[in-house]
Symmetry: C2
Subunit: 117 residues, 2 copies
DNA sequence: TCCAGTGTTGACTATGTAGTACACACTCCA
DNA sequence: TGGAGTGTGTACTACATAGTCAACACTGGA
């Protein structure tokens, strides 16, 4: 398993290779945490940051917020809020899709988007 | 808004009306918390319990676990686990269904269950 | 050569979460 | 009439979360 820390370190260093603005210290400053903390996060010495910090980090590195949150074992709170409004319906839907192939979910998304309901 | 505490107090007292096994103390004992704590939970003096405790409580009172968790502002961790395996797909799906009418979600559930994918 | 910028170490802290422990007061019914 | 069972008030605790802060050692360019 790649792990949250490894992933963002790799992502950041890839960017840093061509752009000095992606040093650990400068990223830390932009996302408003101490360099020491980001260093520990990247090396997995501390658990992944809070949702808000992960989101800022994802934005800075040009990564997908939902995916980065997932690597940290978290589900975006805006998704949670949607689920919480209709817990029964969404619980059933999600459990139903547990073992569905990826393309099935994508297809459902498309159908809903195209208003086939 | 009804609130978590009010809801379970109502549910418990309704059961207690015909069955003495649903006194606050006896329920507390079965779900393995102190009576004082359950008392405070029911009156909203403390935040709702942990997921595990809510699940035991729901089972004891014959309530829907997902709904009770939702009233506590929590999404069941087994649902989270499903989402976390494919964060992108589920994030898109859920956001797409944010404003969909209830029957649309139910319909999707049915279609998936019936293997229309 | 020196210093600006780099990553890192170790100690510490504030807030939130999820309760326990124990005593108190009331009621009812045997 | 007194004891079993009821709900409640107050104080306290253990652990997790989400970081800060100050100081250290290394490196590359002016």
């Amino acid at each position: 398993m790649a792990g949250f820390g490894d992933h963002i370190r790799n992502a950041r260093e890839a960017l840093a290779a061509t752009d000095p603005r992606f040093s650990l210290r400068q990223v830390a400053q932009r996302i408003d945490v101490e360099p020491a903390y980001l260093s520990k996060v990247e090396r997995g010495l501390v658990p992944p940051p809070s949702e808000a910090t992960i989101v800022r980090l994802a934005a800075d590195l040009g990564e997908d917020g939902d995916v980065l949150l997932a690597m940290a074992g978290k589900v975006s709170s805006d998704l949670q809020a949607i689920i919480l409004r209709r817990p029964k319906q969404f619980a059933e839907l999600i459990r139903q899709l547990k073992n569905a192939p990826n393309h099935a979910i994508v297809k459902v998304v498309r159908e809903v988007r195209d208003g086939k309901w």
